[in-house]
Amino acid sequence: MKTIYDKSRPSRRGVTFPAPLLPDACFQEACLSPELLRASPAQLPEMAEIDVVRHFTNLSRQNFGVDVGPYPLGSCTMKYNPKFTEEIARLPGFAGLHPLLPQLRRGGLLAQGALEVLHEMEQLLCAITGMAAYTMQPLAGAHGELTGLMLMAAYHRHRGNQKSLVLVPDSAHGTNPASAAIAGYTVRTVPSKDGVMDLEAYRAMLGPEVAGVMMTNPNTLGLFEPDIKQISEAAHAVDALMYYDGANLNAILGIAKPADLGFDIVHLNLHKTFATPHGGGGPGSGPVGVVAKLDEYLPISRVARREDGTLFLDYDRPHSIGYVAPFYGNFGVVLKAYAYILALGGPGLKRVAMDAVLAANYLRARLAPQWRVAVDRMCMHEVVLSAADQAAQHGVTAMDVAKALIDFGFHPPTVYFPLVVKEAIMIEPTETESKENLDAIVEAMAFIAKKAQDDPDWLHAAPRSTPVGRLDEVRAARQPDLAQR
């Protein structure tokens, strides 16, 4: 499709503004010396409103979203995004609220409704995960990780601990080691055994210099870590903190709580577990919860209640790590997740976990005849297959499988993650996909398995139904064209 710059025509306009109040005073370029001004206007597209609307409408039609069809992208929890939450986030009383308003009158009196949302959300997340306190500031999962590691560092600094290492399993998401490094830690990788953390290797790596251990449970293979209690007790014995990557919380809602598993710091991905839309890659929200002993380090401000029942923003927290975001996080996203949690309530949230785990296991059982399951036992919310056999025997890779699924009307699963599985195909159906859709995925995967044997080239040529075929990524990286000049 032509770019919006290709479609631009001189002097077309999509919006006009009122006339200035001081039409002839010194306010335009005239009163700024030329050295303060840009030499020529920014070459932005010149379009009528209809041109803009058609351009983006047509672009949107080249996307595949959850509202278009099944989107079993493992680790991303692409569940249905309820529509009423979109309306709630757009209520003028929320969308029109300036974040500094609480500072204009006795800490928070002008934004009691918004502070109530934040306060209640903190309490709901505490009840769901068993943690003692939450901050809503982190703006996505990885940002929550960084925040959590900053809390970890503050805790150790305050106690005079000299610690420099963070342990991360080899199945961990890339953001875990990256966040630890950005927080100033050295990362050590713990190997897996039969799909879960190798307890012996872990014990051998633990020592006084270990600041913390980052895990997700269920892990990225969709398996519950059965030794989690021993793992956390061993960490605590050397005063290391347990960090929970909440990307996979969907599987254990109402079933188990991270605090009971021994975790000290937790981040949640509201855009996964609590159904806020992913927006083409964001915005998300990554609240961080902690056990009581870490409360004092949480970012400021904290929402707190006065004796008269009103809420205020507490900045008087001498041990706080400071600010990780300018205000109270991605408030518009928090609102949607809050509305979702209220709608489901306790029983609904538990049903989410049960249906998500049921769907993943149903797929596992039905796919196992044709596909190697990375670790063939009961899984949680996602199942990881391996196309290693197909790759070795027929030259059909996980990428070929992903591309072929597109032609069947599905968004592909996550591929090549986790790194510990060769030719990984990570399928997370979520609780909102019906049995008919799960059966259709099974049929497509069976067809693809057969094609891999009979006609691998047919798979190499996929996808066929899309506006473009497989793109030359080497060219993209070698001759970067990152902007239209």
Binding site: R13, E35, A42, G93, L139, L342, A476, P480
Partner: protein, 439 residues
């Protein structure tokens, strides 16, 4: 109310296919002693009940005030087409475009967004977005540290104080030295640079609304081997000298003025653009244009060897989910305004602020603190504590501005007033009358 399509019959059939009789059996891998003992969550509610409850909470916020509050986050007009378009679910119910063949919509939009940021800043490359202006500034500082191998950052005190606190928080554990340059006369003179400095960080317009040309300061930074980082307001770039024209190496800023609602602090948009030399050190996702097997043009994520999913602890950043939908909203906004519209809007903001300045400085006892020039914000010195004045004006339905004493204790009487295109002559007049009355 939940959103699961499964009937009990579906569940029974799925369990039957596995030879199981109850869903509980699926959780056999979780040791019983680790199971939930307490599940104190509210009862489910209908859509109607939740909507009513949140509607009531929304009304407990003072959102009807006439807004002269800015301080880095502004009450701008948003054309209806922006929201109409980003509400298309093919745009908002998708994730990061890992599979380009079914994500050309998002990918092309992000490429066009990157192009718009390059055109606004004059710099070579933009990423696909960062979380917000403050985290973008931190990422820029870290880029400079990596590039120069130095550990000292010089930042002007006229950079948004919230961002300065964020930077201090992020660097607390990193053995970096953060040096704040004081406000001599009109701004920062870049006197604290030395040959151990990784970057000089400035803001334009600065936190007090003043417009600068930092070309000399940036030249000094380059002489010392430091990078020049400019934090800027993208709307002001409709008229102001670009970061590239000042020879900045990195431009960052808050994209909220480009069509994003204030929304009590987010979601917003961190933008970043860099010079060609820094391309491969840039954090965040990047979209590139390339060809498919048949020679058709298409878009995909590129330069991924910088990123966490490949480089893990050696990545240039840990960012994964960014603010893509906000970036697309900003692009739509910029497309609706276009080349002339953005310039006109920037001028209009300056004009509204100039009118307000005229009206407000006519009040006895009110003094303009700077000689200018300004963009759409300026500071006034009042004859009393600005917090007191602001609180009194709330009762008249006006959020009169930001009392600076909170971040600059020596400026307790200073009020930072922002005036966007949304403020009418009448509203500005009301502010002037009300302010005069409460002094």
């Amino acid at each position: 109310m939940d959103f699961s399509p499964h009937t009990d019959d579906d569940r029974a059939q799925m369990l039957g296919a596995m030879g199981l009789s109850s869903v509980d059996e699926l959780f056999a891998g979780i040791p019983p002693e680790l199971r939930v003992r307490q599940w104190d969550l509210p009862r489910p509610m209908s859509e109607l009940e939740v909507t009513k409850r949140l509607g009531r909470l929304a009304e407990r916020n003072a959102h009807g005030l006439t807004c002269f509050l800015g301080a880095g986050f502004y009450d701008h007009f948003i054309p209806a087409a922006v929201d109409a378009l980003i509400r298309r679910s093919e745009l908002y119910t998708v994730y990061t475009p890992y599979q380009p063949e079914i994500s050309q919509g998002t990918l092309q939009a992000i490429y066009e967004y990157q192009s718009a940021i390059c055109r606004l800043t004059g710099l070579y490359a933009s990423n696909a977005s960062l979380y917000d202006g403050g985290t973008a500034l931190f990422e820029a500082a870290m880029l400079a540290v990596r590039r120069t191998g130095r550990k000292r950052l010089v930042i002007c005190r006229a950079v948004n104080p919230i961002y300065r606190v964020m930077l201090a928080s992020y660097t607390a554990n990193l053995h970096l030295e953060l040096v704040e340059e004081d406000l001599a006369g009109g701004g920062c003179a870049a006197d604290l640079l030395d040959d151990k400095t990784a970057a000089l960080i400035m803001q334009n317009p600065d936190f007090f609304g003043r417009v600068h040309n930092y070309a000399d300061a940036f030249a000094k930074a380059h002489e010392m081997g430091a990078l020049a980082i400019l934090c800027c307001n993208p709307l002001a770039l409709g008229v102001l000298r670009t970061p590239a024209e000042m020879d900045a190496d990195i431009a960052v800023g808050e994209g909220q003025p480009l069509g994003l609602p204030l929304s009590f602090g987010g979601p917003y948009l961190g933008f970043m653009a860099v010079s060609e030399a820094l391309l491969r050190l840039m954090p965040g996702r990047v979209v590139g244009r390339t060809l498919d097997g048949q020679g058709r043009e298409g878009y995909c994520l590129t330069l991924q060897t910088r990123e966490q999913h490949i480089r893990r602890e050696k990545a240039t950043s840990n960012i994964c989910t960014n603010q893509a939908l906000c970036a697309v909203a900003a692009l739509i906004y910029l497309s609706l305004l276009g080349k002339e519209g953005l310039r006109e809007l920037a001028q209009l903001n300056m004009a509204q602020a100039a009118y307000a300045r005229q009206r407000l400085t006519a009040i006895p006892g009110v003094r303009l603190m700077d000689p200018g020039p300004w963009f759409n914000e300026f500071r006034l010195e009042l004859p009393l504590d600005a917090r007191v004045a602001v609180s009194r004006l709330i009762d008249k339905g006006i959020a009169a501005g930001f009392p600076l004493g909170r971040y600059y204790p020596e400026q307790a009487n200073a009020l930072l007033v922002a005036v966007t295109e949304k403020r009418s002559k009448e509203e500005i007049g009301n502010l002037a009358e009300a302010l005069e009355a409460v002094l």
